[in-house]
Symmetry: C2
C-alpha cells in the first residue's frame, strides 16, 4: 500500500471511531504532514482519496470537513430468529456457493478463503517438499486414529495461548474443522435431537445438523456480545436441547468476541442444564488483540466442551488438517472419526507439525492478524463509500468476515442471481439461518488481497445493491399505492 | 527371493494344486535341475526347505515324496450367521486393532496395510515433492466439493477396466474408501433402517453401520462364490432391507471374486426389491487375473449401485484419496460429503492424478499383483507348515488377505490377548461379524515383505494356535468327563 493510501485509511479509521465527528474540521495539510512525517503532496493525495470516497468534503479556504451523510454505519441489532426448533433448509444455496468456489473467473467475496499469498507461508512448501524427498514409508501409511502424535503435541502446546491445559492425548486430529464439528455433533446427539445455535450461524454447521436429522433452535445473537444468554436459558426451559454450538471468538459471520464474563455465564448455564457445548474456534487465533481471547474450553471444568478448530483459516484450507479436544466425549468422537474417514491424510499432518516445530507458525499468525486488520480498514472504507446509506455493518474483532444488513425488504437471493452473471460471488444471509431468515443480509470476505480488482468488485457490488434497494423501495411504494386505491 | 526359495515355492504350489498328490514321488534332483536350468545344489536346497516344512519326506534311495499328513487345507464352508437384524457390537476390539497399528515393534499380521516398499512407488514421492516446489496456491486452497477434476478424469478412465462407462462428473473424491462407504451408507439409509452384508464382512463397514444406528442382517457367504443369493432373497422377503453392502471382487476378508453370473443375479434381485447396492471395490484392482473382474456398477442400468473405492490398497493409505461413483444418489452423497469433511486434502489428490497421468499407475498395479500373488504362495506354504492340521483356509483370488477358520471351540479373542504380549497382531474373526461370531477365525495380511521376520512371526503364531487348540480340546475333554461322571 502506498503512503497516501495508508494515511487515508488511518484517517478514515479515525472518522469511523468517532475521533473526528460528522461535520468536524479535519487537521490542516501542514499539520498532518509534520505529524506523520510525510510530504505535503502525500497528505493532499490522501485527502483527495477520502474526498473521492465522499468521506470528507472540502470547504473553500477552510480545509476539509468530515462528510455528514457518510457516517459510519451502525452495527446490526440483536437478531430475532424463529423461537422454536426447525429443520434446516438451504442446502441448494450452499451447494451453489460451493460450486462457484473453484471458478477462477468469479470474484470470491462470499467464501471463507484465507489469504494464501503471504511470504510467511513459504516454509510450508519447503517442508512439504523435503518430507516428500525423504521417502519415509510411514508418511504413506495409515496414521493412528488419533492423528500424528508430533502434531497433537504441537496443537496441545498452541492451545495454552487460549488458556487451555491439554496434552497430546486430549487431541484428535480431523480432516479440517468440518470433520471436527461433524464428529462432535454426532458424538453428543442422535437424530431427532435439538441443538441450539447462534443466529446467524455458520452454514457448514447448519448443513451438518440437517444431514444428521437434528433439529435446530436459533438463538437471538448480538453482533457485539454474542448469543443472548437470556434467550438461550428460556429455550432450555422450553425444549430438551442436547447441546449448543457456538463460535465465541471472531464469530462467523458476525465477527464478535464474546466477553469473558458472558463466556463464563454460558458455561454455567450449560452446567446447570447439563448440555454439551461445541465450540468452533477456527477463527480464534486471528483475533486482532494479543494475547488472543480465551476459549470456553479453557474455563471448562467437567469436560463438557468439545473444542473444534483447524489450520484452514490460519494456514491453508487445502491441507484439511483440523482437530478436536473432545473432553468427556473422547470415545464417541473416536468412533465417529473412525467411521467418517478412518484417519486423516498423513503428509499434511507432518507438514503442519514441522511448520510449527520450526517456529514458523507464530510469526505467520502475527502477520496474518495485521494483514486482515489492515484489510478490514480498507474494506470498510470501500463499503462506506460504495454502498448506499441505510445499511448496518458488523465490526469484526478478528478474522476476515463482514456481515452487512440491508433494509428488511431487501432480497439478497434475488440480487445473487444477478451477481452471478457479473461473476461476483457473495454469501447470502439466508445460508446462515436454519429457516432461511436474513435474506436481507450478506457475508463478505476481506481476506482477499485489497487491490484494484477487489475495489472494483466492491464498487460493482455496491452499485447492484443500491439498484436493488431502489427497486425494492419502488416495489413497496407501488404496493402501498395499490392498497390505497 | 533366492533361486532355491523360488523353486521351493513353485513346487509347494504344484503340491497344493494337486499336480503332485499326497504320497506321490517327486521328480529327481537331476530332472528338476535340467527342467528349471538351475544347479543340482539349488534343487537340493529347495527340497531341504520343503522337507523342513514337512511338505515332503525323503525316502532313502528312492528320492522325495509328498508328505501325506500336510495336504492343502480345505476352504471354509458356507457361513451360518444369525438370521435376523442385529445391532453391531465389537467396537472395543476394532479400537484395539487400530491402536496396535502404529506400534513399530508389533508384527502387523492383522492389518489391511499394503506393501509400500516397491520401487514402482518411487515416482509418487517425486511428484509430491515437485508439486510442493511449484508453490501453486491452488494446492493449498479448498478444492471443489466433487474433488480435483484432473483426478476425477483419471479415475473415470481407470474404471473402464472394470467395465464401467463413467465421466469425471460421475465421480466424487473422498477421504479414503472409508469416507466413500460412510457417505454412501448415509445417502441411502436413515438410522433404524436395515442393511444386509456379507458374513463375514469388513469391520469398518460394520462400525459405520453401528455409528449410524443402522441394524445389520448378516447373510451366509460362500468363501468361493460369495454372498448366498438364496439367503439374501429370503432376508428381503422377511425384512424391509434398504441396501446391501458387498465386496464382490477380492473380498475382504474371504478373498473370493464373485462369478459374473452371480453378480448379474444379485443386481436383478436388488432391482426386483428396489434396494440400493453399495459396492466396495477397494481390492478389485489387485485381482490376480488380468483383465480384472467386472464391477456390479458396470452391469447397473438404473444407477442403484454406489461404487466405492480408493488408492489406499493399490498405492498408499496415508494419502487418504478415495472415491465414489454414486449413481442416482449423487445429490445426497454430495451433501453427506460436505457435512463429513467439506473437501478432501488437495495435494494428495493432485499427486495421485499426476502419478496416473504420467503412466506410473498401471505398471505399479501389475507389479503389486505379482508381488501379492507370490507372497500368497510363500505365505500359504508357511501356514500349511506352521499351523496345526484341522484348519480351513480361504483361497484368495487377489488382494492380500487370508481367512483362517479354526475348530468351532477355538477362542481367537483369548489367543489375541496372549499374542499381544508376544508383539504379534492378528485380526480376530469376531470383528467381521455384527454379532461377534467367528471367534474361531483369524484374518491375516500377506501384503508384508515375505522375509525371515515374517516367517518367524508366522511360526510363533502357528505354535500359539496349536497350543490353544490343544488347550481347548483338553478343556472339552474335561467337560465331557465331568458330564459323564
Amino acid at each position: 500500500m502506498t503512503r497516501y493510501k495508508h494515511l487515508a485509511c488511518l484517517l478514515s479509521d479515525r472518522i469511523e471511531q468517532g475521533l473526528y465527528r460528522s461535520g468536524e474540521r479535519l487537521p490542516s495539510v501542514r499539520t498532518l504532514s509534520s505529524e506523520h512525517g510525510v510530504s505535503i503532496s502525500t497528505v493532499q493525495q490522501a485527502y483527495h482519496l477520502l474526498e473521492e470516497k465522499q468521506l470528507i468534503v472540502p470547504q473553500p479556504r477552510s480545509g476539509y470537513f468530515v462528510a455528514t451523510h457518510k457516517a459510519t454505519p451502525p452495527v446490526p441489532a440483536l437478531t430475532r430468529p424463529v423461537q422454536r426448533p426447525v429443520e434446516v433448509t438451504q442446502w441448494d444455496s450452499v451447494l451453489e456457493l460451493l460450486s462457484s468456489r473453484t471458478s477462477g473467473d468469479v470474484m470470491q467475496l462470499g467464501s471463507g478463503m484465507p489469504d494464501l499469498t503471504q511470504p510467511t507461508l513459504k516454509p510450508l512448501w519447503k517442508i512439504m517438499s523435503r518430507l516428500a524427498q525423504k521417502q519415509q514409508t510411514e508418511l504413506l501409511n495409515y496414521d493412528s486414529l488419533l492423528g500424528v502424535s508430533a502434531l497433537r503435541e504441537q496443537v496441545a502446546r498452541l492451545t495454552i495461548d487460549s488458556g487451555c491445559q491439554l496434552t497430546a492425548e486430549d487431541i484428535v486430529i480431523t480432516t479440517g474443522c468440518h470433520e471436527a464439528l461433524s464428529v462432535s455433533i454426532r458424538a453428543v446427539c442422535a437424530p431427532g435431537d435439538i441443538i441450539a445455535v447462534e443466529s446467524p450461524a455458520f452454514h457448514g454447521t447448519m448443513q451438518t445438523l440437517r444431514g444428521l436429522g437434528i433439529r435446530v433452535i436459533e438463538i437471538p445473537t448480538d453482533s457485539v456480545t454474542g448469543i443472548s444468554l437470556e434467550a438461550l436459558e428460556l429455550a432450555f426451559e422450553q425444549w430438551p436441547i442436547k447441546a449448543v454450538v457456538v463460535v465465541p471468538n471472531c464469530n462467523n459471520p458476525l465477527g464478535f468476541i464474546m466477553p469473558e464474563a458472558r463466556k463464563r455465564a454460558l458455561l454455567a448455564l450449560a452446567q446447570r442444564v447439563d448440555a454439551a457445548i461445541i465450540e468452533d474456534d477456527v477463527y480464534g487465533e486471528l483475533a486482532w488483540d494479543y494475547p488472543r481471547p480465551v476459549t470456553l474450553k479453557s474455563l471448562d471444568m467437567d469436560g463438557r466442551v468439545l473444542l473444534c478448530s483447524s489450520f484452514s483459516k490460519t494456514l491453508a484450507p487445502g491441507l484439511r488438517v483440523g482437530w478436536v479436544a473432545p473432553g468427556r466425549y473422547r470415545d464417541r468422537v473416536l468412533h465417529m472419526k473412525y467411521i467418517g474417514t478412518g484417519s486423516t491424510a498423513t503428509l499434511p499432518q507432518h507438514t503442519v507439525a514441522e511448520f510449527i516445530r520450526q517456529g514458523h507458525y507464530l510469526p505467520h499468525l502475527r502477520r496474518m492478524r495485521q494483514v486482515y486488520q489492515r484489510n478490514y480498514e480498507t474494506f470498510s472504507c470501500w463499503v462506506r463509500h460504495y454502498f448506499p446509506c441505510g445499511i448496518c455493518v458488523s465490526r469484526p474483532q478478528g478474522g476476515f468476515l463482514m456481515w452487512i444488513e440491508l433494509p428488511e425488504a431487501f432480497d439478497a437471493v434475488r440480487l445473487n442471481a444477478e451477481l452471478r452473471e457479473a461473476c461476483l460471488q457473495v454469501a447470502v444471509g439466508s445460508l446462515f439461518s436454519a429457516a432461511g431468515k436474513y435474506r436481507n443480509c450478506l457475508r463478505l470476505n476481506y481476506g482477499l488481497p485489497m487491490n484494484e480488482q477487489t475495489e472494483q468488485a466492491l464498487a460493482r457490488l455496491g452499485t447492484a445493491v443500491e439498484r436493488a434497494m431502489q427497486a425494492c423501495s419502488s416495489d413497496r411504494h407501488q404496493a402501498e399505492q395499490l392498497l390505497a386505491e
